[in-house]
C-alpha cells in the first residue's frame, strides 16, 4: 500500500459547478461582509448616518474614490492597544472559554462514554436527549438559568433546605454563572463528537487489550481514550471557538465586571455607536479565532487521512 498523494483528477463541468456553490456561499456570506467590516474598522467615527467616514458611493467617480481611500486609517486599532479594556476583554473571553471547555470536557466525556456503553436499542433515544435542548430557544434556556442561579433561586433553595449552606451562594452575576451557562449551552457540541469517536472504535480493540493483560481501566487509558482524542479535539474546538465570542450568556448571567469580547463589541456598537472601534474589535477577534480554526482544520485532515 502506498501512502503517496492521491491522484489528481481533472474536474468535469458538473463538478466545477458543484464546487462553486460553497465557494460562492463563502464569498457572499463571509468574505464580502468581512471586507465591509474591515473597511469600517479603518474609518473614523462621526456623529451622522452612517456613523463613520469615509462613505464610498459608486456615483462619485474614480478620483473621489482614491481620495477617500487616503482617508482610511488604523486609528481604531490604535485605540484597541491604548485602552486596557480591550486586551482585558480578549483575555477574559479566552480564559472563560478555555475554562468552560475544560469543565465541559470533564462532564461530556463520561456522558459520551456511558452512551456508548448503553444497550444498542437505547442509543438513538440518548442521542436525541443529548440534542433535545436545541429544540427550545437558546435565549429562554439562558433565562432559565437566571431562575436557577440567582440568590433566591432554585439552586440556593435546594442547598439551603439540604442545610449544605446557611447563606445563599452568590453565583448569578458572576463569572461562575457565565461558566455554568457556557458549559451548559455547548454541551451537545462536546458530547456528540466524543460519542462518535468512541462508538466508531472496533470493539475488538478493547478485547485485544484485555486479552493482552490489561484491566478494564488500563484498556480504557491505553486504547479507548487515545483513540477518542480526535473527537475530544473536535468537540473542544466546536465549543471553544463560539464560546470566545459568546455575548448572550455573559450579558444575561454575568456581572458588570464580566469582561468578554462579545459584550465589549456590543457596547461599542450600540451604546457608544463607535462603529470603527467595534469593527476593529471584530476583526481582531476573527484573527485570534483563526488559530484554533486552523488547528481544527488540520485535525480534520488528519482524521480523514487515517480513515483512508
Amino acid at each position: 500500500m502506498s501512502a503517496g498523494k492521491p491522484h489528481r483528477r481533472k474536474l468535469g463541468t458538473g463538478q466545477r459547478v458543484l464546487l462553486a456553490v460553497p465557494f460562492l456561499w463563502l464569498l457572499l456570506f463571509f468574505a464580502a461582509p468581512f471586507l465591509f467590516v474591515a473597511k469600517i474598522s479603518l474609518s473614523q467615527a462621526v456623529a451622522q448616518r452612517p456613523p463613520y467616514e469615509p462613505v464610498f458611493a459608486w456615483s462619485e467617480g474614480w478620483n473621489v474614490f482614491v481620495e477617500k481611500l487616503g482617508q482610511l486609517s488604523l486609528s481604531a486599532y490604535g485605540l484597541l492597544f491604548e485602552d486596557d479594556l480591550y486586551l482585558a476583554s480578549y483575555l477574559g473571553s479566552l480564559k472563560l472559554a478555555a475554562l468552560a471547555t475544560l469543565i465541559g470536557l470533564c462532564v461530556a466525556y463520561p456522558v459520551a462514554l456511558a452512551m456508548t456503553r448503553a444497550p444498542r436499542s437505547w442509543r438513538p433515544a440518548l442521542i436525541v436527549l443529548a440534542i433535545a435542548p436545541f429544540w427550545t430557544s437558546f435565549l429562554i434556556r439562558v433565562y432559565a438559568w437566571i431562575v436557577i442561579l440567582k440568590d433566591e433561586g432554585l439552586l440556593n433553595h435546594l442547598l439551603l433546605s439540604l442545610r449544605l449552606i446557611d447563606q445563599p451562594l452568590q453565583i448569578y452575576a458572576t463569572d461562575w454563572a457565565v461558566l455554568i451557562g457556557i458549559v451548559y449551552s455547548y454541551m451537545p457540541f462536546l458530547i456528540l463528537p466524543i460519542y462518535n469517536a468512541i462508538d466508531r472504535q472496533e470493539p475488538q480493540l478493547v478485547e485485544a487489550a484485555r486479552d493482552l493483560g490489561a484491566s478494564g481501566l488500563s484498556a480504557f487509558w491505553r486504547v479507548t481514550f487515545p483513540l477518542s482524542l480526535p473527537g475530544v479535539f473536535a468537540g473542544a474546538l466546536l465549543m471553544f471557538i463560539p464560546a470566545v465570542g459568546e455575548f448572550v450568556v455573559p450579558d444575561l448571567l454575568g456581572g458588570s465586571d464580566t469582561l468578554m469580547i462579545g459584550r465589549t463589541l456590543w457596547n461599542e456598537f450600540f451604546a457608544n455607536r463607535d462603529w470603527p472601534t467595534a469593527s476593529a474589535v471584530a476583526v481582531i477577534m476573527l484573527l485570534v479565532l483563526l488559530v484554533p480554526l486552523l488547528l481544527y482544520e488540520r485535525n480534520e485532515m488528519r482524521i480523514s487521512e487515517t480513515r483512508r
Binding site: M1, Q204, A208, A209, R210, L212, S218
Partner: protein
Amino acid sequence: MQQSLVRIDGVSKHFGDTTAVDNVSLDIGAGEFFALLGPSGCGKTTLMRLVAGFETPDSGSIVIDGIDMAGVPPNRRPVNMMFQSYALFPHMSVAANIGFGLKQAGMGKADIAARVADLLKLVQLEKLGQRKPDQLSGGQRQRVALARAIARRPKLLLLDEPLAALDRKLREETQFELMQLQRDLKIAFMVVTHDQDEAMAMAQRIAVMRAGQIEQLGGAREIYETPATTFVAQFIGEINLFAATVERGQVMRCAAPAFTCRLPEPMAEGTAVSLAVRPERIRLTRGEPQGGEIALSGQVMDSVYLGDVKVWRVRTDDGGLLRVSAVNSGNGTDDIQRGERVHLAFAESDIRILPR
C-alpha cells in the same frame, strides 16, 4: 494424547433464545494443534470466546492448566488470542502493538525492546517496527497480530479464522508457517475455521461443530474417511449420499442408483441408512469394469476440468446421480466428455454406512 491443558466440561452458552454452545465437552493437550471446524453460526467462535474469557458459560466448566477459569477475567488467563480482524491498535506502531502485553505485564523497557525485536524477526518484519498498522499490507498485519498474540508466551493460543483475510496463495504459505511456528513454540493452538482444508492441513485433531454441538472429534483422516454423521460427511469434502434400507440376510438395498451390498455388521431389518461414497473412490471407465465390485452404468451429465482433478456428474440408468472425480494423470479416462456412456465401479469397503 499428551497431558490435558484445557478441559472443557459440559459447557453451554445461550444468547437470548438461541443456544450458541450446547453442552460441549472436550480436552486439548499441551502443545496440541486443535481446530474447531464448522459453518458460520455453529458456535465455534463462541466456544473460543468462552475459553478466552470474553463470554461466561451458562453452565459447565473450563479448566486451563489445572485452574478453573470461572470468574477469571481475560487479562488473567494463560491464553492469548489472535482476532479475525487482527484488532491491531491503530494509534500504536507495530513495535508498540507487539510490546503491549509485555508492558502490561510490567516488563522493563529494554527487555520489551529485545523481545519485540526477536518477535519481529520471527515474523520477518524486522524493518517495519516503527510503521503504523494502516501502513502495512494484509499479510503483514496478520504477522503483527500473530507476533503480538505470542509475545506473552501463552500456554494456549487462540486463532480466530487466522487465514480468512488473506488471499489464496498467501493463505497456503502462512498455513505452513503457522504449523512450523506451533512446533517451534510448543504452544497449544486452537484454531477456529470454517475452511476444512485449513483445519485438515494444520490440526492434529479437529472438532466438527454444528448447531452448538460437536458432531465428530478426531484426526483429519478419521473425519474424512469415517465421518460419523451425514453432516460431517457433507461438510468435509465432497461425497455421494444414497438412501438405503437394511434387508434380511444382512444386505442393504439402495434404490437410486440401484444396487445391493453386504452389511459389515448386522443391523435391524428395515433400518433406514445413508450410504456415503467419496467421488474419488468411484472409478469411471468406458469399458466394462472388473467383477467383485459394485458396478453401475450411466451417462455423463457434466464434466468439469479443474486442472489437477477432473470432476464428472453421471446420471445412472436407474435415475441416480453420482459425482465422480479423478486425478488428472493422463491415463485415458481423463478425456471422458459430456454425453458419453460410462461404467462406474466402487468397492464395498469404500461405502460408509451413516445413520439417516
